[in-house]
Symmetry: C2
Subunit: 159 residues, 2 copies
Amino acid sequence: MDESLHRTVESYRRLATSLNRAKTHERLTQAAGIRLDRPDVQILVDLLDADEPRRIGKIAESLQVESPHVTRHVAALERRGLVERVRDPDDGRAWRIALTDEGSTAALACRRAAAQWFEAVLADWPEPERAELARLLEKLADDMSGYLKTQAESTSSAR
Amino acid sequence: MDESLHRTVESYRRLATSLNRAKTHERLTQAAGIRLDRPDVQILVDLLDADEPRRIGKIAESLQVESPHVTRHVAALERRGLVERVRDPDDGRAWRIALTDEGSTAALACRRAAAQWFEAVLADWPEPERAELARLLEKLADDMSGYLKTQAESTSSAR
DNA sequence: TATTGTTATACTCTATAACTATA
DNA sequence: TATAGTTATAGAGTATAACAATA
């Protein structure tokens, strides 16, 4: 196996290990100043990034989880007033999930807290390297999700 | 917030979303030809990368989980003959966890399957970009784990 | 009756706390 | 009695399956 490939995989794994643990998430919500579990944050930030209300199914697809999972967390977020249901403009009988003002504030705070870690870490990096990291990581994320998606389709059709 | 920073965070999150889901793990073990749950794989690959037997506590630290978690999975792996306990050469009363031949084979297969996704995705990339990605991702992983560690220490001492 | 979402349920992953063993 | 590890327990996180609703 190619040496740089191994370094890439190993580095990704280490990064995920650091960022994935419960303590890290706890620190994030503490920095953001709001008590939210991990799926809550994912949903709020997804809606923020989407920049428009989304259906349950769309959120689930985006987060790559099953819809009952989203249903439950959205219900909890709705009770807390962080999201609300609005009519789907394309389909009058359907609903979409929208951030409330409070939800937007919370989502922004979470996104900001995560960004601040990266910012702190990247502070010492020369600007060209920061830009290059952004470019390569974005490309990797694009290509990886595309690859896994086509592979999933070929697997399921082969079955 | 700086634009390239936002792209970096967002890309990392998408990458983690793709690679983290249960289906992805299932596909990995299928490709590797062995039934193992996620913590099992993490432990086996950790031992493989370490390239020497490790104590329970060391594995837990490396994976950034609590030791009871490791204890349980190691016990299961031991029953299946994938790892075994050997005397700690530095401390005759203690034990270390070692990969058996079968365990090594399984760990290699898992590491290989993960690497193959990256390989497939990076196949179209020009070599300089692949090398650059490896370098930058490694640096990011180093800096991030260092940052989170020092931050964790300052938080706990402040408390 | 096809699509979308929901309710019910169960399994996996991981943490905390309490206990044990060993020197 | 300090250290490392284990057992016991509980709580997140997420999937599957069965059901409901709506057109």
